[in-house]
């Protein structure tokens, strides 16, 4: 633990004594904040093991299928909304520009703001991913869609389009899987059994990282962690 160099923030402390003067209730808030962090760290550890137990076989099989598609010239398309759009971007860059192993073709359908806003403005937000798959996707490609609720209409529409085009479809959802669980058209659906959006996103991150790692294994490009 080092201390900052430079002037102490007397001004801030004078303005906000309730946040700094060690009032009993503030101490209690700090203690509660620490306890909350410890609880959340334990919660995500438990949740990851639950996912490992429930999905290890499906993850291996799914990665094997992804490797087959890539080996035959398939490409990966990832999509999601909000925080899940950043995961879609992470999935794409993990496959395209990995820290080790093979570089594989992958694209996030959330990265082209011109296309996303044009489709939203002219047609509707529900088609932003489906229309891109209709233009870019082909038989043998891979569609990875993320939705914490499992209910995002544009993700559902994208999977319907991906299925029509003969793509491998992989969904990541949370809680009980929402509409994605009712679809009955996905090749693989990984549902994170939690009601917390944050914990679901954290465990989904693990799911796609493990899928990436196992795909590299299946392609014989064993990454050295």
């Amino acid at each position: 633990m080092g201390r900052l160099e430079g002037p102490p923030a007397e001004g801030v402390r004078e303005l906000y004594p309730f946040l700094y003067e060690g009032r009993a209730d503030l101490e209690a808030v700090l203690a509660e904040a620490c306890r909350s962090t410890e609880e959340k760290a334990a919660e995500i550890v438990r949740l990851r093991w639950q996912v490992a137990e429930a999905s290890a076989d499906a993850l291996m099989e799914c990665a094997g299928e992804m490797a087959l598609r890539f080996a035959s010239g398939g490409r990966l398309f990832a999509f999601g909304n909000g925080g899940s759009s950043t995961d879609a971007q992470e999935v794409a860059t993990a496959f395209l520009h990995p820290p080790c192993g093979l570089s594989l073709p992958a694209l996030s359908l959330t990265s082209d703001v011109a296309v996303v806003t044009a489709l939203s403005n002219d047609v509707g937000f529900d088609v932003v991913f489906a229309r891109q798959l209709a233009a870019l996707g082909r038989h043998g490609d891979i569609a990875v869609g993320l939705s914490t609720s499992g209910g995002s209409a544009n993700v559902v529409r994208a999977f319907e389009e991906a299925t029509r085009r003969g793509m491998l479809t992989i969904g990541l959802a949370g809680d009980e899987g929402g509409r994605l669980a009712e679809l009955d058209l996905l090749d693989y659906l990984f549902v994170i059994p939690s009601s917390s959006v944050h914990r679901i996103q954290e465990a989904q991150t693990t799911v796609y990282h493990v899928l990436w790692e196992l795909t590299q294994h299946a392609l014989g490009a064993v990454p050295a962690p």
Partner: protein
């Protein structure tokens, strides 16, 4: 070993690797709480959060910005945040003309107010432009925070970051996963401190709190 059994080893090993790093996050609960306390004060002063990172770290920057701008929990106040790495035109433009090391520093220089906060993400602590961005932020009087990994690299040793949270793993995928939990907790605790009763943040922005910890 058959392909199936090597895959089984790979999947168990992958989950075990995450377990160790995730448990260690609890040890940082004190410094996370203090950083959130400082950030809540800054937000009360009207400060905004400026986030940046490269590659996958750029997706985390975008995630953090949307977390604050559009909270998942209904009723939580939207707090101002921007992700510098989202501006592909400026990042590639500055990178092309002045070098990649200058990208975030350039953007911070133009965007930052003294009450703001800068959060830099680098999974190995070795991103020069993240370090330069934090140095620029520090010079301008911002609160600075770094999310790092591995041994923390030059980022963890630099005085430019008031707080550094280093995930002790050399696997960038694992580092990212712990970072996601860390910034989810960060967002939640900032709101806990922000909602404590007290005077409104209507005064002149001050300096840093001096509660440095790394």
């Amino acid at each position: 070993m058959s392909v199936t059994s090597t895959m089984q080893v790979a999947v168990s090993e992958a989950f075990a690797r995450r377990d160790r790093a995730a448990r260690a996050l609890a040890e940082d609960s004190g410094r996370i709480a203090r950083a959130c306390q400082d950030m809540a004060v800054r937000f009360r002063h009207g400060g905004k959060l400026i986030v940046f990172g490269n590659g996958g770290g750029g997706t985390d920057a975008a995630h953090i910005a949307v977390e604050f701008m559009h909270p998942v929990i209904v009723g939580k106040r939207a707090l101002p945040a921007i992700a510098l790495s989202n501006d592909a035109a400026t990042v590639s433009g500055v990178g092309n003309r002045d070098g990649l090391a200058e990208t975030f520093a350039h953007q911070v220089h133009r965007w930052a107010d003294p009450a703001d906060m800068a959060l830099g993400i680098s999974r190995d602590g070795r991103c020069e432009n993240v370090l330069r961005g934090l140095e620029m932020a520090k010079t301008l009087g911002l609160f600075t925070f770094a999310l790092a990994g591995g041994d923390g690299g030059p980022l963890a040793r630099s005085p430019a970051a008031d707080h550094v949270l280093t995930v002790a793993s050399d696997d960038p995928a694992v580092v990212k996963e712990i970072h996601v939990t860390a910034y989810h907790v960060l967002w939640e605790l900032v709101h806990v401190f922000y909602e404590q009763p007290g005077p409104p943040g209507d005064a002149t922005p001050g300096g840093t709190s001096g509660e440095a910890a790394r």
